[in-house]
Amino acid sequence: MEFKKILFPTKFRELAFNSLESILELKKAGLKEVVLTYIIPRDEVAFVPFGGYMKDEEERLREQARIRFENWQEAITAEGIESKVRIEVGNPVPKLLRVAEEEKVDLIIAGRKKRTVLGKVYVGSHTLELVRRSTIPVLVSKYMVRFEWEGDLITRVNDHIFTAPLLATDWSEPSEKALKLVSSFKGLADKVMVTHIIGVKISKGLDKSELNRIEKESKERLEKYCDRLKKDGINAEPHLFSGRSAHEIVRVAREHKASMIVMGTTGKDRFKEFWLGSVSHRVTEASELPVLLVP
């Protein structure tokens, strides 16, 4: 499993180009083509009350995007990677998903490139919707973030994001897929931290012997994951913790200086997510690190 073709949607916000540059590192992992995409929100140009459609405005936005992309394409070509431009009109998230399907991409890049105001979450509603609905892996990139740690306000630039990924696994099928994806990071990753959290829901009410059994079993599984990565030529180390899953993943990633978090996601719909919650989506919101979600 490789990232040969990626979709890079943008709204041309500040630092978007820097974010793109950081992604081009994937060339070492087999990246061949980048599809640069700009979705003109339909509501920006269509349904002018009692008017109609602002064709001129659409043309202006298209032209503006095309010129910007031309510049970006030069940088991509300089890296020896092919590129393509898609400028479409529509509802952003469904349109992006449709373009991703049509282009048969292996990865979608999403998320804010910069967050300057201190906030509790690092992703917007569009990104969350994309993450929830995509059947293709999504990398929530978060190029520049500001967060509070031990009373200090820290600005972090996530540029070399593939050097020390933390693979958080719950042994599910998407986690298996995530492991296979991380295997393609050879040449990019110095080491992979394979992490499992024994969740509160699981450990609650269990006697010590049962807990020991789960711990032993988890360690064995972690070792197996690490062995598989090592076999592919990637240095890997196991980490086992217990507690509230999302909270622990964010903490461990921060403390072990991970460069990104990789997780499987079961893709709960809005209703299920509201009632059951989703660890991967909570990590995506709460972590200052880029998060790669593998459905």
Partner: protein, 523 residues
Amino acid sequence: MRLGKWLAIIFLLSIFAFLVPAMATDQEVAATHDTEHGSTHGAEHAVAETGHEDVHAGSESHGHGDAGHGGHGGHINLGEVLKLWTCIPFACMLLSIALFPLLAPKFWHHHFGKVSAFWAACLGIPFLIAFKGVAVHEILHIILADYVPFIILLWALYTISGGILLKGTLRGTPIVNTIIILIGTVLASWMGTTGAAMLLIRPFLKANNYRKNRTFMVVFFIFLVANVGGSLTPLGDPPLFLGFLHGVDFFWTMKIMPHMLVTAGILLTIYFFLDTYHYKKEGLTSAPVEEGEKEPLKLVGTHNFIFLGGVVGAVLTSGIVDWGEVNTLGIHRAVQDWARDGFLILMGMLSLWTTSKRLREDNDFSWFPIVEVAYLFIGIFITMVPCLLILKAGLKGEMAFLIAAVKEPMHYFWVTGALSGFLDNAPTYLTFFNTALGAFYPGMPEAQAVPLLMTESSIFLKAISAGAVFFGAFSYIGNAPNFMVRSIAEEGGTPMPSFFGYILKYSLVFLFPTFVVVTLIFF
């Protein structure tokens, strides 16, 4: 001078303009009371809740089960004292809708809500200062009795029809196109012109994407599906629903069937020949080669027809049953009207819950158009309050000249129509509906006057209804679905004529003669 300063000046002028005559009205009222009751009461002592105002609103609009309190002898009727210029904010609101999309579309697209709020404030604030309780009552009345049900119905029809998707491969031959337009024309009366237009416009465009000249097709689609087709029931077109809210029977509107059949018949026949001509001219006498696999026609989300049935049933029931009244913020509304509104919301919610998001996305469903209509129409409804009151006052109001001039059914048809073509047809309908009430039954409560208008003066109501609905097609701004269809067509790459191009090349050429024929036959 900056725009903000101009707006502030307009706003202050409107307050000033209202306050001076209001003081005069106070004196007039005081004199009336001195004479009749030996006591002095100003307009500000009006008690809106009871309807026993010193300055009252005249024949209040009360439709199905809504109690009327018109005609208190010896009291000043607000419609008789209001000056003609109090209609200026209404005129400005409608002119904004007509001119901004032409002159400053980008500004309008982003600030239409503020423009609507501005004109509503220009009328509403001074009106409230000048006439206090009565003004509160009038504004609340038009919001609760007209605006709220109006928007709820539009929202429900828009939401439900947005959950139905026509999939599959169609080839736009003259026969197929004529059948699509015919189906849309029939559906429009039952799912609203907006609903029918939104359901069929994308398949219609897709079916004809291989055709060179598609512009005339979309224009005739606007004529028939987005306008003429909606003339048979109150669900079809917003003006007719406003009539229903004011007491016109659900099935009375069927009386416009002959007018509709003649209009639709003429336009469809012209369309067929026009399409055949272009089809042959484009050298498309044989079916074009299919690209890719042919997808069979399929209607998805058909369970939404159940909800449409629910909407029809709810509106129909609210016009038949009488469950008493309920006082909401001093406004008397029939229980069945509230129940209907609640049921329509339920139908819309059920449609949202039971229809897949993907289907709506395939339909390119967006809330934006309905939000626009909601923002604009709150401005329209508030600013039109004085206009309606003056018209209801009949020959005693400042629009006596209009009432005196508009006498014959053909006058009502053409004047309602001409204004509907260039202003939105819903407020225009209500204006001339009230003109007719003022002309034939001045001072009579609406609950009594409307049944008479439906029976002994029915030709006038037919003329107003047909004029409002048919002429809605005359320009892009005549009816809300027109601009939605135009927007979708242009987005899909079908060139559409300009505002004036539409009128000169199509409306004057095809609609005008058709309406002359309708006039000669029926009015």
